[in-house]
């Protein structure tokens, strides 16, 4: 069970897309798990032949649990070859013989029902004389588990997940905050000219310019890009930018756009469009949710001028953008109206110093002054 964020403790397997004997390659989607952040497609990081499925559908297992065994090419089959996982067969319910009076239930079944929180009143017994057996209790517990959570339950679980991660962040990460105002007139003018000559399906949003500029700027200050794990900074070679995306109904996810520093604006736009769409329909991939090396939160859409972010652990930095707004700006001794943007950096002081954070914001500003080079 992959960790899809520092706030995730367990996941429920809802669907297997592979079976023993199937050949899989790295990156294939092998299963779907239900988490506090919705249904996520799980990819495999191993290539080979599926040898055994270890976790049945409907089971909730902790992060780190082995879900299935994949034998890589050339690797000898584990001896003795494992018996195929028996699919629990639903016993054919025989017509229950209804005995008038009190429902019959074995003491063991009653005890087990109490442990699992199964309501005995709704149970149909398949045992002798319609008695409720241990199996009946197990089955009822399983089907209750398989019931999809309601919107309210999902919302509560999501709030709890966000709360846990943010509390941990505030408790453990010594944040420092920096902010700067960026003149966006060149970037916005370039974007307007560019979009005028593009068909609607290929137009860009200014968020994509910000995304690319962040990805390039962080290459110059690599200690902001990566993780803080086990008391040490682990900068990442790859720049995977996590984009905070709000879900209607209150959720929040930060799936990653991979290798954002080496992709073109068009590729990033297509990637962002795809991510937003999949985030909202609940079909994000496990790697996208777990491997962002830096996060961007962009609250300008909501009319916010400035956002001071909370770092999403174990990452070490979060870049915040407000809205682009026409405001007075001093240019060559004269006041002019310019589209301005407040950019902020929340960074982990264990991994970087304010001086380096300042260099990052300066680089970001410089990159946005030459949008044609992004």
């Amino acid at each position: 069970m992959p960790s899809l964020g520092s706030d995730m403790e367990a996941g429920t397997l809802v669907e297997w897309l592979i079976k023993p004997g199937d050949i899989v390659k790295r990156g294939d989607i092998v299963a779907v798990v239900e988490t506090q952040k919705g249904a996520i497609d799980v990819e495999t990081f191993e290539a080979g032949v599926v040898e055994q499925i270890l976790v049945p559908v409907g089971e909730k297992v902790p992060v780190g649990a082995v879900l299935a065994l994949i034998r890589s090419e050339g690797e000898a089959a584990a001896a003795p070859p494992p018996a195929p996982v028996p699919v629990p067969e639903r016993p054919q319910p025989q017509a229950p013989i209804v005995t008038p009076g009190r429902a019959r239930i074995s003491p063991a079944a009653r005890k087990h029902a109490g442990e699992l929180g199964v309501d005995l009143a709704g149970l149909t017994g398949t045992g002798p004389g319609g008695a409720v057996t241990l199996d009946d209790v197990e089955r009822a517990a399983q089907s209750a588990k398989l019931k999809p959570p309601t919107a309210a339950e999902r919302h509560a679980a999501m709030r709890q997940a966000i709360g846990a991660a943010m509390a941990r962040s505030k408790r453990e990460i010594p944040h420092y905050y920096l902010g700067t105002t960026i003149d966006m007139s060149r970037a916005m003018a370039w974007l307007q000219t560019e979009n005028e000559r593009r068909p609607i399906t290929e137009r860009l949003l200014h968020a994509v310019l910000l995304l690319k500029a962040v990805a390039l700027a962080v290459r110059q200050v690599p200690e902001l890009n990566g993780f803080w794990i086990n008391g040490e900074s682990r900068p990442s070679q790859d720049v995977h930018v996590g984009m905070g995306i709000s879900l209607r109904g209150g959720g929040l996810v930060a799936p990653a756009l991979h290798q954002a520093d080496s992709r073109s604006l068009d590729e990033l736009m297509a990637g962002l469009r795809d991510l937003v769409q999949r985030a909202r329909t609940g079909s994000l991939r496990s790697s996208e949710l777990s491997d962002a090396t830096l996060t961007i939160t962009h609250l300008g859409e909501q009319g916010v001028d400035t956002v001071y972010g909370i770092i999403y652990p174990p990452r070490v930095a979060l870049v915040g953008f407000g809205r682009v707004l026409e405001r007075p700006w001093s240019v060559n001794g004269k006041i002019e109206s310019r589209p301005l943007l407040q950019a902020t950096l929340a960074a982990d002081h264990r991994a970087s110093n304010g001086h380096r954070g300042g260099l990052f914001l300066t680089a970001l500003d410089r990159l946005l002054q030459e949008p044609e080079k992004l």
């Binding site: 307007q192 979009n195 005028e196 609607i200 399906t201 137009r203 949003l205 968020a207 709000s246 209607r248 109904g249 962002l272 469009r273 937003v276 769409q277 909202r280 329909t281 859409e301």
Partner: protein, 84 residues
Amino acid sequence: MTAAQLKATVLKLLGTIAPDVELDSVNPEVPFRDQFDFDSMDFLNFAIALHKAFKVDIPEADYPRLATLNGCVGYLQEGLAGRS
């Protein structure tokens, strides 16, 4: 296409972009973004959906006219009339 038909089609497209919006309760005079969570990516996807469904060109300068349901209907009526 009548205004009512245009309106119905526009609402249907809106539903594909923002699946959780109750389409019956959309106020035709109030900008979408003031009624529900509708960010610039949603708006762009919505404009693309209109473009594909009605085969009309929508320059970026016209975006403000698509902010409300009635605005969309009026804009599409003009665009479709200009073509015939």
